[in-house]
Symmetry: C2
Subunit: 496 residues, 2 copies
């Protein structure tokens, strides 16, 4: 069953640009391109031909038109590019691996924004095993970062679906999450220092490998998650960890989300920091996987909720297995779970993760759907889902909920598929706004977030304006204006 | 042996205030006090009598003179106080438990700054065991926070010498460190959300209990560590952890700092996140403890370096002990350590920690000294100490180095005591600046920080101006100006 392709939106430039201003921009743009060619060499300033690798996001939902694609090869060149842009008043859209999910890394369709690709900055600058740190350039692909750590016998734990093509700079610019957050934190918690080029084209050399540094304001965390609107990350010093000696995977069946939360508490108290993953999947999520990928063997019979647990230990593989088994036994005895399967091999473990990771793909196969990336306090999850499920089912009889995600972080991908057999595209076009309103109102009632790990980009600007407090927005606007007074860095993203 | 009292410095207001401006301030100040009395009640606006509990820091190194001490009882009252200050153009020095080490929480001696005490905001607002969070007000004493967590069967791991009187708001405003950072992070990493009153007297309700929230700029981490110069923290949502089932302590003897670093790597790879503490002490540190507190039993014979290790596990007390013993055995076999003692009881464990924690007190007994709170990458520590020790000994023959601290975080309290029998006060007065220059130059060469966990306050303004990059300072000044354009929040601290 093939799904219709999603509609691709054109990213519009800010409205109200006058004719004179447009003329001025054209002149500035031509001068900038000439200058960039001198700076970077003509072959690193792409203007003609098919630029869709940079202009179209990978979900194919946003397409823009860049003035040019500039590919500097060093931090110094990035600084020179930004100096030139500041001088000519041309705005800049930084881009890493172009795998973002919220339309934050493609230019608008004005043809007046410079697409700044960081892909040539991909060196491993240093690795320091005794300090458990490595320094990498922004364009390095996440998988290459993981591999470099692994080659040194260490672990860089950030892991997410796009790791084969996303860049570490993009991960930091969007504060990426993934499957190991429960133990190791988001991208933010994995970064000790940054090198950033400011809107004025100055370089902030903040590549500290320090775990403690209280010398002034936390610039690092301000740039992390700012989606290229405050500065351009060119390199980062990352935290590394010893590789665990053993990593065990299990699946368990729960009758309710409340039981999943109980299992989480039990696992946290018994396994401590050894609990590295805790993912939940509702019946329909796994049924979709079964439908579209029947070759994947289900580990357990269908249950209202299936939990995937991962337990990693630095040492003592046998002791770790006993502890993991004892946890599952205790959960069975307490009737927190009704069934469990512990992977007996790396292959079985991989299959369990494969089931979990196939849910988004199965959803794509099933057809267009409304995606959410929400978080609420873990304790509020059962109530949130019960209320929101009921509200959606009342408003849209037959609606199908694909609810799965990182329960340990309070982060659900609470996705919505139209009724079986309905026209998915039409359902989406007609009802997306109302579905979002129901879901995000409930999230807000629970003190949650409408963007847990994907960022704001273009997609969630409306929610930012509607749902963040005026005080928070005021503070953010003041910071944006202070660091980028010309408004040239990824304008129209995150806040407007 | 009783040490001479440290000199108390007067905190000077900014120079160049004109006579007319001073007159204006006097009028504004009188009007403000009248207004504050109406807002808070006269008994919460202290003007007369001995205000040294607020005006003199606990090290007795900085004394100021406050316009008044205001003690609001709620966030709404804090907001009203700041609104009034903004209207009257009067500056504000926020204060928690007044235990800071860098003179960041006492007013200058102009008599024109309002001392804003947060001590009446001390409610535990909520505790959510399933979400592993608690929400507390800024004035709550750290020990009370720890106790509230413990009463719920959970752990709040921030722990430091002043915990009996410091407040959680102050801990967050200064991003406090302490002894558990290796496992749990600094105060920053233990905080999920904040409530902050801005310079304009608006309330930012950012008390999120979320582990993932990518909706705009990271305001939380901007306020954390800003030492009251960007906003006033009135409440925080904190991370909690399951209490470990077992916590084991050991001491070990190393021949060199390089061996201490090797032991750290070995312990991290074998114990993973179970390694919760890793402190080092040089011979002279423990000799000072022996001299001034002879009743404290030393756990091991003197060695060039003594390491204190702590290992905590969520479960399986017997297995944990075996693993800890196996680590020490492996280290003995590899000749990374030459001796070890594993605490056999809680009392022995407490004695080991007591030895470590008595070093600063033994230093006070020994006499005035130059304190440093530095961090460098862990891998650079042996080289840093070797070079700096040699440089100091060459410049000041007979100088005594009290070197101890949190090696696992790269954070040393690299303190300097004058030669045996010298006049400590005179030595300090004559040589402190030169000693600082030698130490901080070496720190800078190693990519380190001159303030690891204590903050900048008044004490390290000079180092900020001299040693932070102009780009970093420019960014910080722009942020300060954006959030506090009148310059009323703790002016003259952190950056000038």
């Amino acid at each position: 069953m093939s799904a219709p392709r999603p509609t691709t939106y054109v990213v519009r430039p800010p409205r109200g640009t006058s004719k004179v201003a447009k003329q001025h921009l054209l002149v500035a743009a031509a001068a900038l391109i000439t200058e960039l060619r001198q700076l970077l060499g003509a072959e690193q300033v792409l203007v003609d031909g098919d630029l869709s690798a940079w202009e179209l996001d990978w979900r194919k939902r946003w397409r823009g038109k860049a003035l040019a694609v500039a590919r500097p090869g060093s931090t110094a060149e990035v600084a020179q590019v930004l100096q030139a842009c500041a001088r000519h008043g041309v705005s800049v859209v930084p881009q890493g691996g172009n795998t973002g999910l919220v339309g934050g890394g493609v230019p608008d369709d004005s043809g007046q924004q410079l697409l700044l690709s960081l892909s040539r900055l991909k060196r491993l600058r240093a690795i320091d095993p005794a300090n458990l740190t490595m320094t990498v350039e922004a364009g390095m692909v996440l998988q290459a970062v993981q591999q470099a750590a692994s080659d040194a016998g260490l672990l860089f734990p950030l892991s997410l679906a796009a790791e084969g093509s996303c860049s570490i700079g993009g991960n930091l610019a969007t504060n990426a999450g993934g499957t190991q957050v429960l133990r190791y934190g988001n991208a933010r918690e994995l970064c000790l220092g940054l090198e950033v080029v400011t809107a004025q084209g100055e370089v902030w050399h903040g590549l500290s490998g320090l775990r403690k540094d209280n010398t002034g304001y936390d610039l690092r965390d301000l740039f992390i998650g700012s989606e290229g609107t405050l500065g351009v990350i060119t390199a980062a010093t990352l935290k590394l960890f010893p590789q665990p000696a053993v990593s065990l995977t299990a699946m368990a069946s729960c009758a309710s989300l409340a039981d999943c939360v109980r299992l989480l508490s039990l696992a946290q108290s018994r396994l401590g920091a050894g609990l590295t993953g805790f993912e939940v999947m509702n019946t329909f999520s796994l049924a979709l996987v079964q439908r579209h990928f029947p070759q994947l063997q289900q580990a357990l019979p269908p249950a209202p909720w299936t939990v995937l647990l991962e337990f990693a230990e630095a040492d003592d593989a046998q002791g770790a297995r006993s502890r993991f088994e004892a946890l599952l036994e205790a959960a069975l005895n307490n009737e927190v779970i009704s069934d469990a399967a512990l992977a007996e091999s790396l292959a079985q473990s991989a299959t369990m993760w494969h089931l979990r990771e196939s849910i988004p793909l199965a959803q794509s196969e099933e057809g267009l759907n409304v995606k959410h990336d929400i978080s609420v306090p873990v304790s509020a999850i059962p109530d949130f889902c019960e209320r929101t499920d009921a509200a959606l089912r009342a408003a849209f009889p037959g609606i199908r909920l694909v609810n799965f995600g990182h329960l340990g972080d309070g982060n659900l991908h609470y996705n919505v598929q139209g009724p079986e057999g309905s026209d998915a595209g039409r359902f989406l076009a007609e009802h997306e706004a109302q579905i979002n309103a129901i879901v995000y109102d409930a999230v807000q009632d629970c003190g949650g977030s409408f963007s847990a790990e994907h960022g704001v980009g273009t997609l969630k600007l409306h929610e930012m304006a509607q749902r963040k407090s005026p005080v928070a927005l005021g503070l953010m606007r003041a910071i944006k204006l202070a660091l980028d007074p010309q408004g040239l860095l990824n304008p129209g993203r995150v806040i407007v």
